[in-house]
């Protein structure tokens, strides 16, 4: 009886982990929910304007900029932007 409960608990834990990992992945990839057509492996959209002379991404895309980046980008430095975009 107790062994059956422990087997059930192991299964429930596994399902919980799958759920939490899925939630985390969705938080990190909101585009999956926003644009159903987009593939899950997409990293980030390419920068649609010339970069030369606009190296300080934060000035326009910071939290107080005219085209602010999402909240989960907070804390990333300018040098990191091009790694994904």
């Amino acid at each position: 009886m107790r062994e059956a409960y422990s087997a059930q608990l192991a299964m429930v834990t596994g399902i919980l982990v799958l759920f939490v990992a899925g939630t985390f992945a969705l938080i990190q990839s909101p585009e999956v929910l926003e644009s159903p057509g987009i593939t899950a492996v997409t990293v980030g959209q390419a920068v649609p304007h010339p970069i030369e002379g606009h190296e300080n991404c934060d000035s326009c895309h910071g939290r107080k900029g005219m085209k602010a980046y999402p909240i989960n980008h907070l804390g990333w430095k300018n040098e990191s932007c091009m790694k994904c975009h």
Partner: protein
């Protein structure tokens, strides 16, 4: 109620430990996502490793943690949850390989970065760990080498996984996250140190001497242990301990055995062992005066946890040992409640503790029903295994209120549980304990 509360508390703590890496990830700046499937697989990897780390605690025999459930169930859970963790960890690379096939090149140890090779090697170590545990008997691996390999591979797997995480370096940057992982690893190391060093040192100060070895019926031996320089072990009737025979409590060789003596005496402990495997087959050759160590008591298979107007004890062969401890304890306590013992043996000559049980019927309100699977021709008692039909003829009218204790080989336990179900008895009233720890 208290075991239920404690049990729920520890389950909550375990789940929190498993999910903790994620809670910590959400603190402070979070690196950008790299696509749903990649992040999903990363999540599985982190939590899978967390689940594996938890195994160090599950198998550490911490009494506070194991007592609400019984250590047999904790070990059972260890086997189940480790398999689940293995599947989750296996999904981590598989999802990445399927979603981004180009990453398959990372399996090549010559061209792959060192941290990737560490991850691959860790996964191989985990696969070997799980396979040798599930198939130990089929692969004919002896207990001691298996146990050594099991511990070694566990450490290697966790260490390689940590190297992999550190090498990838994603999600673990920042002092808070770094300290979290250092703390988690330190807790795992502490658990190992506790099991392998602290506990044996404590046992070293509490040695026993095997005073006498008594031959019982049915290829069973009773070891009489006398505590040396300490008051002995205090246990509940039906509980068991891990026994180490020899000079050192640091030895890897140890086996769980039930106490067969009365729990009312801690100064003279008796453990009855049936000749079954490679270790038990030589138990009768142990010379008196040999040093021994006990790690215990453990187990929830005890009447002291289950109050009832009467008890029904269902025993098959070797399972008599804890039951005799229960009966001897009840006799010492001058118990008056009715006790019914169904005892299945092969032959009349092999009925272990036959004379002792006869003696106990005079001291207790006890009825013993012997059933033999290979009875002599003139046998007038019950024949065959314990069945629903057999039990129905002896059980009292208030059978629903009684507590049922089953002890014996696993197939016997399953058959008796099924028989009790057939009789309409609630399984909540049925207590059993499995010694299948591997």
């Amino acid at each position: 109620m208290r075991p239920l509360l404690y049990g729920t508390f520890w389950i909550g703590i375990s789940l929190a430990i498993i999910i903790a890496p994620f809670l910590v990830l959400l603190i402070g700046p979070i690196p950008p996502g790299r696509g749903f499937w990649r992040e999903f697989s990363v999540g599985l990897g982190f939590m899978g490793l967390s689940m594996m780390g938890l195994q160090f605690f599950l198998t550490g025999r911490f009494k506070y943690f194991t007592s609400p459930y019984g250590i047999d169930v904790v070990y059972h859970f260890h086997r189940q949850i480790s398999t689940v963790a293995f599947i989750l960890i296996l999904l981590h690379p598989l999802i990445i390989f399927i979603s981004t096939p180009v990453t398959l090149a990372l399996l090549n140890p010559i061209s792959a970065p060192w941290w990737m090779t560490a991850g691959t090697a860790g996964l191989v170590a985990l696969a070997v760990l799980i396979l040798t545990s599930i198939k130990r008997k089929e692969l004919a691996i002896r207990y001691e080498p298996w146990r050594l390999t099991h511990g070694f591979l566990s450490i290697v797997m966790v260490a390689l996984s940590l190297i992999h995480i550190e090498g990838v370096g994603y999600y673990v940057q920042g002092p808070l996250k770094r300290w979290f992982w250092i703390g988690l690893v330190a807790a795992w190391i502490f658990s190992l140190v506790y099991v392998r060093i602290i506990k044996p040192i404590w046992m070293l100060k509490r040695p026993y001497t095997i005073e006498e070895i008594i031959r019982e019926r049915g290829k069973t031996w009773t070891l009489v242990l006398r505590p040396e320089g300490h008051p002995g072990i205090s246990f509940k009737p039906g509980q068991f301990a891990w026994l180490k025979i020899g000079k050192s409590p640091f030895a890897i060789r140890e086996h769980p055995f039930s106490f067969s003596s009365s729990a009312m005496r801690s100064d003279k402990i008796e453990i009855s062992i049936k000749e079954l495997g490679d270790f038990t087959s030589t138990i009768g050759e142990v010379p008196p005066g040999t040093r021994a160590y006990l790690d215990g008591p453990y187990g929830t298979f005890t009447i002291d946890r289950h109050t009832a107007p009467g008890y029904v004890l269902l025993v098959g062969g070797v399972g008599i040992s804890p039951i005799v401890s229960i009966l001897r304890t009840l006799a010492d306590r001058h118990e008056k409640r009715p006790l019914l013992l169904f005892y299945s043996s092969k032959t009349w000559e092999e009925v272990t503790f036959r004379e002792e049980l006869e003696n106990l019927t005079r001291r207790l309100n006890l009825q013993v029903i012997h059933t033999l699977t290979k009875p002599p021709e003139d046998w007038k008692g019950e024949r065959g295994r314990i069945s629903a039909e057999m039990m129905a003829r002896y059980l009292p009218e208030n059978r629903v209120d009684c507590e049922y204790f089953i002890c014996g080989p696993d197939p016997m336990q399953m058959a008796v549980k099924k028989a009790l179900e057939e009789l309409g008895l609630p399984l909540e009233k049925v207590q059993s304990e499995s010694f299948n720890f591997i």
